[in-house]
Symmetry: C2
Subunit: 168 residues, 2 copies
DNA sequence: ATTTACTTTCAGTTTGTTTTGAAAGTTCAA
DNA sequence: TTGAACTTTCAAAACAAACTGAAAGTAAAT
């Protein structure tokens, strides 16, 4: 397989992969394209390589920037804006974890805390089941939250080597 | 807040949460309803409580069963089928991890392996960047894969107490 | 001040997903 | 074997998300 084919395959798969995780296909594809590009590229490059409109590129690039996965690059002497993605997959992963934790896990935990103390007789089977379920989810989320915090702060070599000693 | 309100809130939030993770809102809502129900319930109960059609319930229940999150229960002497969800959140989580790993991570890793050895001069900047990116993702995925395997096999108390000693 | 090179926005359209409901299928009991 | 009770399917409808492209906006260069 040559570079062009391989790039295309990677971009397509990364897009499909993303769409299983609540990320829109095009955004994931743009991200993939940027990750395998050695040099920063322009909106027009992206439009051409992925066959999508200017507006679409603009919108998704903006999103990728707010996710902290892509940077706007201004080359001196150039009018045009260039874009470049973080290529270190560990940084990409921790950045995504950090953002999703903030956007989703944190609010969920806040809600669970309020739902745990409802009015009602704890002898009632339905009330008991509700409280048990919620409190189980809450305890689990708390641990997951702590674990993610450690991961975010840790560095890559710790993940690749240190942690694996623990996980035998 | 009373039980009914709290249930509704939980169901709504669990639905919204799911839809950020590639799970359709209704499926997540049915799952939530089943998790907080002390006793098995029927299709009709679900239709009524969530205001959705019979076909919709049927489809999504079937999906939840293939995910291993919900069981069909036959009460002796009853014609009707009842449904019940696994309530232990640890089991729910490991079950989801196991399935998604099989459906998504495993195929992705297989693809990455094939993409890593492309034709082309490794001195070429673009070729080099491509190989570096792919191999970085592959190494990372491999570690993540190992970690998930350990988690799937581990039991809940290990997660809640043991692992946390490691993560300080 | 005007032109030129570029970026952003957004109403309308396309595409994709979810839901409905009625019809077909199944199973059991009489 | 018929009918009642229930489940499953699936074509069409409703809904939601993503995309386009042209128009409006911005800012550097002349």
């Amino acid at each position: 397989m040559n570079l062009t084919e391989a790039k295309q395959q990677f971009i397509a798969s990364w897009g499909a992969f993303g769409s299983h995780w609540g990320i829109n296909r095009t955004m994931a594809q743009i991200h993939a394209l940027l990750m395998v590009s050695a040099e920063p590229i322009t909106q027009d490059d992206i439009m051409e390589q992925l066959n999508i409109s200017r507006g679409n590129v603009n919108m998704n690039i903006r999103d990728l920037i707010t996710w902290g996965l892509v940077d706007r690059i201004l080359l001196s002497g150039e009018r045009k804006e260039y874009f470049s993605a973080e290529k270190d997959i560990w940084k990409v992963a921790t950045q995504i974890i950090k953002e999703r934790k903030k956007r989703e896990l944190d609010p969920m935990m806040k809600l669970l805390a309020t739902l745990e103390d409802i009015d009602g007789d704890k002898k009632d089977k339905e009330v008991k089941q509700f409280i048990d379920t919620i409190s189980g989810i809450r305890k689990f989320s708390k641990k997951a939250d702590q674990m993610l915090d450690v991961m975010i702060k840790a560095d890559e070599s710790w993940f690749l080597t240190g942690m694996m000693k623990i996980f035998k």
